[in-house]
């Protein structure tokens, strides 16, 4: 089993419904983006184009973050999902630096605007590293990750890449969906269609 996501950038308009759903579902602290949408601009005015690129933890086959973790807090599940054991994480942030996709975040509440209310989860999370876990609880419960459910344009497709009948398997097998920095061999589980 290898959970994977395919993102069709042609259907992404950068509305951030996915980001909001992620933040609500995971109760992320301020500045912690399990998922986010980058804006990439190419060209000079007026011949300029823009692409929206949703970024999340790529759940690598061979995760750089795992290799550098000194406490063994980072580990992989049988479904191919990379997780962090909060009890073991001491907040050293080696993994934040090592991640080729800048998908890990060290949470401290210093950057939070003072006019925002405090969230229940903030104290417990302060001082540890966090990231997207493909909404593992939802997925084990038979649901999609929150970002997939939220996307108004159905730009995200989720499933088991090892299942030959799944849509993600077909898209990956067809060669249309490609990973970011694929040539560097991290074995990402998030694919993109351009």
């Amino acid at each position: 089993m290898k959970y994977s996501m395919v993102i069709d950038t042609r259907r992404c308009v950068g509305c951030n419904a996915c980001t909001a759903a992620c933040k609500i579902d995971n109760a992320t602290g301020f500045g912690v983006d399990y998922g986010r949408v980058l804006e990439l601009e190419v060209g000079q005015f007026p011949d300029v184009s823009k692409v929206y690129l949703p970024i999340l933890c790529m759940q690598c086959e061979d995760p750089e973050c795992l290799k550098v973790c000194p406490t063994g807090a980072t580990f992989k599940t049988e479904e191919g999902i990379v997780l962090i054991d909060k009890e073991k994480c001491m907040g050293c942030r080696y993994c934040v630096v090592a991640c080729p996709y800048m998908a890990r975040f060290f949470y401290d509440d210093s950057g939070k605007p003072s006019d925002l209310p405090r969230m229940d989860s903030e104290d417990e999370r302060n001082g540890t590293v966090e990231k997207c876990d493909f909404c593992i609880d939802r997925v084990r419960d038979g649901q999609n990750p929150a970002c997939v459910d939220a996307c108004p344009y159905q730009a995200r497709i989720f499933g088991d890449a090892d299942d030959p009948n799944s849509e993600v398997h077909k898209l990956i097998a067809s060669g249309r969906a490609k990973t970011l920095k694929g040539e560097e061999g991290f074995g990402a589980s998030v694919y993109y269609i351009w």
Binding site: V13, S49, Y52, Y153, Q154
Partner: protein, 697 residues
């Protein structure tokens, strides 16, 4: 086992009332809001604001009970009172003022369409007897473009692109992914089918990122662009001759007028190369059916009536109105339409009071009852009247869903007026900058806290969906409930005993009660009947599409569209342009906020944490501005401080700022409320002059 239920309801976080959503409620608490992909109207559309409404609902700073001021205005000292006390105080105060100074001394001002109560608000004002109801939107949103469309084709077809069936979609001065997801969903579906997309916008917006042709025009020059396209379509013989002959009147006069707007001339005005204008016009007119999506740009430039008219005409002569894949007219699902002068009881307002409406003399298209519009008072004139006591003294203001302290052009002046008015009552979810100045505040329910119907004019295309109460916060009540209870106390005609009675009244012609409709699944739906107007005639005096408007001529306005330079521009005020060399639009929107609301919702603020000003990257470099720098943007009216976003997606001489932030970032510190649009009174929010520099602390 926890009890989990899923409730189908309708979001109204942006007031469009169109997105069907599924709310997960666990042990009585709202946990999650998801798009309803099976909804026949929205088909899975949703936005971050809707999703994050969980945090809005349970926000610790929500107003939870009515409060009365317990210290000087704005002191922040409040005393909790009961709903009975609050409603008694408000109704007594307003009735006393009515007796002593006449009903016109009471201003009723509304803001967002937080649900479907907006026309009830008009009805309330007319029944109370004041001609002075107004909206923060009003002349700045929907009213001008609706009026222009009513004049042209007797309905508001430009509001609804039937984009899923279009071969070309033109999005004009709008960014649906940020502001209107059901429209953008259709556009993306059309694109993925191979349809072409034209985007008219000074900024490379979310929508423009998908454009085949992007027309980055100088802010405020939209009318010239539209006339240029009409010129191309007529001069190259690309107009739909059959359609024009059958359904339009005034084509000869239009052709003559349009001949003045050659691509060359329009290119000089708009700063968009000629060939791009021609390309867009040809694509729109030939790769049919074509639809257009518009928005508040049509209400926020120097001459909104001309823009609404010109783009309506563009759609008409290309044969794209009331046809599949073109632009289509709203249609109820059989319920009583609230969008009628009957429903708002305009005829109940005595004519002599109508004449007293603030703005009626200078802005007749907005403020006089011309039987094509909902006449309303002109907000800047209301503020002037409060400050000057002329032409008569305004003594009370009752504000629902509005935040004029931030949302009105020249906001400092609005604050001054709010401070001055003798009695101020505000109903809102939070203690907004406006509510802070009130004598009495009422806690309002969010869209998750009341039963209702999603039935506004822009929302209804053959479908009617219910909204369901899934949560309770403190003593918060719906806007509808507040009006009904006040109306009871004041003995106003035309009101009901309860919200339930009101909903059943609206539903009566459908044969359902609210409870029955809820049981049946909460939705009535039929495919909109396209082509009815072509068959039966348009709702205009000539029964045709009026390219030439005799009514405008009668009222003393040009019967044909024409371009007017903005009040301030490098061409209309060259001296001013020396000091303020950049052209400014305050029209930028992001998907996480609705006007001045939602910056206090953590998940939303986290996505767009700071107020942003967009500047061309090369210009920024020349001025020593780097991405993320604090910049000061100054106009003849004031200044704001924002964060710079450098981009190639904007003209080197244009600056675009976001709208709705408070404090030094409030864009309405740099707008003007004295120069207003001819006839309709809109303040210019797109097409001002400014300067920009790095802010050194």
């Amino acid at each position: 086992m926890p009890e989990v239920r899923y409730v189908k309801t309708t979001c109204s976080i942006c007031g469009h009332n169109q997105c069907g959503v599924i709310v997960e409620v666990k042990d009585g608490l709202v946990k999650q809001i998801k798009p309803d992909r099976n909804d026949p109207m929205s088909k899975g559309s949703i936005c971050p604001k809707s999703i994050a409404s969980v945090q809005l609902l349970y926000h610790p700073n929500r107003l939870k009970y009515p409060m009365i001021r317990d210290g000087p205005r704005g002191s922040g000292k409040w005393k909790r009172i009961s709903w009975n006390e609050a409603l008694d105080i408000i109704s007594e105060k307003l009735m006393n003022i009515k007796r002593e100074s006449g009903p016109e001394a009471v201003v009723m001002a509304r803001g967002t369409n937080r649900g479907s109560w907006i026309r009830l608000f008009n009805r309330f004002a007319n029944s109370f007897g004041t001609p002075n109801w107004t909206e923060s939107g009003g002349a700045q949103c929907f009213t001008p473009r609706s009026f222009a469309q009513q004049l042209t084709f007797g309905g508001i077809a430009l509001e609804w692109p039937d984009a899923e069936a279009s071969n070309t979609v033109m999005v004009w001065g709008a960014d649906p992914p940020a502001t209107w997801p059901p429209k953008s969903r259709k556009i993306i579906e059309a694109k993925s089918r191979g349809a072409k997309l034209i985007v008219v916008d000074p900024v490379l917006s979310n929508t423009a990122s998908k454009a085949d042709v992007w027309l980055p025009l100088r802010p405020g020059t939209d009318v010239a662009m539209a006339l240029g396209m009409i010129n191309v379509i007529i001069s190259e013989g690309l107009y739909d001759k059959d359609y024009v002959n059958k359904y339009c009147m005034g084509f000869e006069e239009l052709a003559k007028r349009a001949s003045e707007y050659t691509p060359k001339k329009v290119s000089e005005i708009t700063w968009v190369p000629e060939e791009k204008i021609v390309k867009a016009a040809v694509l729109y007119a030939t790769n049919k059916p074509s639809s257009i999506a518009i928005s508040a740009t049509f209400d926020e430039i120097v001459d909104p009536i001309q823009l609404g008219r010109a783009v309506s005409i563009l759609a008409a002569i290309s044969g794209n109105v009331d046809v599949k894949g073109g632009n289509i007219f709203p249609e109820t699902a059989g319920q009583i339409s609230v969008d009628t002068n009957d429903f708002i009881m305009i005829e109940d307002l005595p004519e002599e009071l109508g004449r007293k409406r603030l703005g009626a003399d200078r802005y007749p298209l907005l403020s006089r009852y011309l039987k094509v519009n909902f006449p309303m008072a002109h907000y800047p004139t209301v503020l002037d009247a409060i400050l000057k006591g002329e032409p008569y003294q305004i003594r009370a203001m009752f504000i629902m869903g509005g935040n004029p302290a931030l949302a009105i052009a020249n906001a400092d002046k609005a604050v001054e007026a709010l401070n001055k008015v003798e009695f101020l009552a505000v109903a809102d979810l939070f203690l907004s900058k406006t509510a802070e100045l009130a004598d009495i505040v009422l806690p309002v329910a969010s869209w998750l806290e009341y039963d209702g119907l999603a039935d506004s004019a822009q929302a209804t295309y053959g479908h009617l969906r219910i909204r369901q109460k899934v949560a309770t916060v403190g003593e918060a009540k719906s806007d509808t409930w507040i009006m009904i209870e006040l109306a009871k106390r004041m003995g106003l005609k035309g009101f009901w005993n309860s919200e339930a009675e009101y909903l059943d009244y609206i539903l009566k012609p459908t044969g359902y009660t609210f409870e029955q409709l809820k049981e049946k699944g909460g939705i009535i739906y039929h495919e909109p009947q396209i082509g009815k107007k072509l068959e039966l005639g348009f709702n205009t005096p000539s029964r045709k599409i009026e390219l030439y408007s005799n009514r405008l001529k009668e009222w003393g306005y040009d019967p044909l569209p024409f371009y007017r330079e903005p009040f301030e521009s490098p061409y209309s005020t060259p001296e001013l342009a020396k000091k303020y060399p950049f052209v400014l639009t305050t029209g930028r929107r992001v998907s996480t906020y609705f006007h001045t609301a939602h910056r206090n919702v953590p998940a939303l603020r986290d996505i767009y944490p700071e107020p942003v000003a967009e500047i061309n990257a090369d210009t920024a470099k020349e001025l020593g501005i780097s991405a993320g720098d604090a910049v000061k943007i100054e106009t003849a009216h004031g200044f704001v401080i924002m964060k710079a976003k450098t981009t190639q997606g904007i003209h080197p001489r244009v600056i675009a700022v976001q709208h709705g932030w408070q404090g030094l970032a409030n864009d309405n510190r740099i707008t003007d409320n004295q120069s207003c649009a001819d006839g309709i009174g809109s303040t210019t929010l797109r097409g001002l002059l400014c300067n920009i520099r790095r802010e050194v602390k």
